[in-house]
Symmetry: C2
Subunit: 423 residues, 2 copies
């Protein structure tokens, strides 16, 4: 017992020596230490949400021909100049454009061709008069009541993209519109970054798999599941490695295996003093190791570890479920995105503006993340802080998102307008 | 030719009679006409993002025992009352709590037990003193420099959820924290709404599959791909039915097949006057048909059709790619979500506040959706309108989202603060 107590106190004093916290912004700057994963080619129908891994150049004009954007009559615009209801232009109808075909006639001065939206303008025609501004006189003649300007109601050849233009650059997240753009150029498959595979490992003698009934003193493994969901939302593939005992060999072996098989490893738990040091020992024993960050000046989430083995990141996340989720969202996620090919430039993140429903205090020198619930009342969106211990999952279930209290602030006053980042 | 022209003008006048546009808010109110899809049971690891289809009640207290949230010593709080650095409390160390085990001893007055974060408090103990506030005197004695309050650094049994409490209600979207919550209760699988299957059909003689080189007058089928991506983002499964010719039989047969095999059908194209009426004819010939909406007072997207066959929705979307995407995002998506089990109550949508970079005019009596690009300059997020014809996909690729100009507004002035909905 005395040995155990002494060891504990020795560890505690040791910890105080090297547990120098790093500022959040400095931690985030380490992303560039980790190279992106390789690319793969996927069918276009599976490309939505993926990160483009090639630059694309247009090989044709888009569209390849002059198209009508209205139902009406294709004309030489000059034939209609000055036309009004009182003084219509009379036009000879030369034919009708069939959809999907090149018209086999051309349009000269004083001539018109019936055309539908999307139809190819006949040679000679440079504008379209809407059907609503015409009337039929006889089998071969219409009146036009408005003049068409050259190019009116027309998409020019190459107006969407010119041949040899840059269409999309590598690093672009593919949204439905980018999928459509790739379709327009006939790309049936596309080169994207692989989804980074993130190994997930829980630690702790008290943790049991979720299909087991926990005995006295035991609880089910929540973190594997919350973190897996978060990895998926960050564009990664989660690969759980189960639960490591509080035992050097077990954690080391599982960690080494995960590191060999994945692109990044998350270890959660081990935020108690003893286990934390023990995790550091395991990380230091991995191939080509370095401990990059040991503690971050954020709350919750201070005892977070970032280590590197070879070119891969290994994280030691707090064991408390709320802390682990917040650290993932605010610290780990940018690393997952980075190795997944998302470029570093600042994205403008969607958020909800809310009004804080009460005063919040905070310590200077660290960034605080506070869970809030959003409630709309009479047109005002209120952000209600959800207080509660960081071991309680219900506080995250109740919360809609997080607000941030900056490193140099002592708190936020009631009614302050805050940005709520949904999670 | 004369017959064709007459038919066209006849259709145009017909159209003017029945093309009475419906207000957007009224269109959205029709969601309740369409029943949700059935449910299915999925493994918990696939549940993220799905919509819960059952109410869940806790079958145990969570946690089931009193746990420590710190490394330190479990005590009877009363034993430490009044303890300070100058006047410490001396406590007899009765043992150490092993993680994941019920301590085989209890704590009485003046006694303490070493405990780690997550450990089960011994019987009799009701609080924890942090290791940092203690010192070791000898093998069996520690000093405590602070007093512990009852319940301090402890999670009580049932503090997260009490037995028989409602955990989650049907209709809840499962986020990573809900996945974690389900894990905590040992739910290895969960009942969720099926992902609605959305049939997608493009129409037009000028449209060719994307793996074909378009001939003169032809373009590739973009809408199937943009809409598929949007369906996926709305939580649905897209099922493409290819391209229907501008021909009653072909459109009718494909539409009927899609309707039989899916939960909702999107037809895009046919926004030219002739084809629009023709689409109405096809929709009216389907089993148990009704045309619910024929035109919406929005721009772009006015010529949108909503029909019902049996209990399923069929949409006639504009052919222009930008219009079809905007109508999906602002009109169709809530219907996909509704039949996918998302409850009707207003969600607070994430958005980005921006400052409009120029004046925008708009017609009263309709809602305008304007594409904008976001650019952050000197701490200000500017929303730059992306103008351009709604047939040009590059305008959507360039845009980050949409702003809305309300039905009773004549426009927005430069520098107005606007909500940008990312898409």
């Amino acid at each position: 017992m005395f040995e155990l107590l002494s060891a504990l106190c020795y560890q505690t004093s040791m910890m105080k020596d090297f547990f120098k916290v790093t500022e959040l912004s400095k931690v985030l700057a380490f992303v560039t230490d980790f190279p992106p994963v390789r690319s793969e080619t996927v069918p276009l129908s599976s490309a939505n949400g993926r990160i483009l891994a090639e630059n694309l150049i247009s090989d044709v004009n888009l569209p390849e021909f002059r198209r009508s954007t209205m139902d009406g009559f294709a004309v030489q615009a000059a034939s209609t100049f000055g036309a009004t209801e009182g003084n219509p232009a009379y036009l000879a109808v030369k034919g009708a454009v069939n959809m999907g075909e090149r018209p086999d006639f051309s349009i000269g001065p004083g001539e018109a061709a019936k055309i539908s939206t999307g139809g190819m303008l006949p040679e000679g025609a440079d504008g379209v008069i809407m059907i609503e501004h015409t009337a039929i006189i006889d089998e071969q003649t219409i009146e036009a009541y408005r003049s068409a300007a050259p190019g009116q109601h027309v998409i020019e050849a190459g107006e969407d993209f010119k041949k040899d233009a840059k269409i999309l650059l590598a690093g672009r997240q593919i949204r439905p519109q980018e999928v459509g753009l790739l379709a327009a150029f006939g790309k049936t498959s596309v080169k994207v970054y692989k989804k980074p595979i993130i190994g997930i490992l829980s630690t702790g003698d008290e943790i049991v798999p979720i299909d087991q009934a926990p005995g006295p003193g035991e609880i089910r493994d929540i973190n594997t599941y919350t973190l897996s969901g978060q990895v998926q939302e960050a564009g990664g593939i989660s690969l759980p490695y189960g639960i490591a005992r509080d035992d050097f060999e077990d954690l080391f072996n599982k960690c080494k295996q995960a590191l060999a098989e994945t692109d990044m490893v998350l270890i959660s738990g081990g935020s108690s003093v003893g286990t934390r040091d023990f995790t550091i020992d395991v990380l230091s024993a991995l191939p080509d190791p370095s401990i990059i960050v040991h503690g971050i000046s954020i709350s919750p989430g201070k005892p977070t570890i970032l280590a590197k083995s070879g070119s891969k990141a290994i994280w030691g996340l707090p064991g408390h479920v709320v802390s682990a989720m917040i650290v993932f969202s605010k610290v780990v996620r940018p690393f997952v995105e980075h190795i997944g090919g998302v470029p570093g430039q600042a994205k403008i993140e969607p958020r909800v503006k809310g009004r804080l429903s009460r005063n919040l205090s905070s310590a200077q020198g660290r960034v605080d993340f506070v869970r809030v619930r959003l409630v709309e009342e009479g047109g005002v969106v209120w952000a209600h802080p959800v207080l509660g211990k960081s071991g309680l999952i219900h506080t995250m279930v109740k919360a809609d998102g997080l607000i941030e209290i900056g490193i140099n602030m002592e708190g936020l006053e009631k009614e302050t307008e805050v940005d709520v980042y949904l999670m």
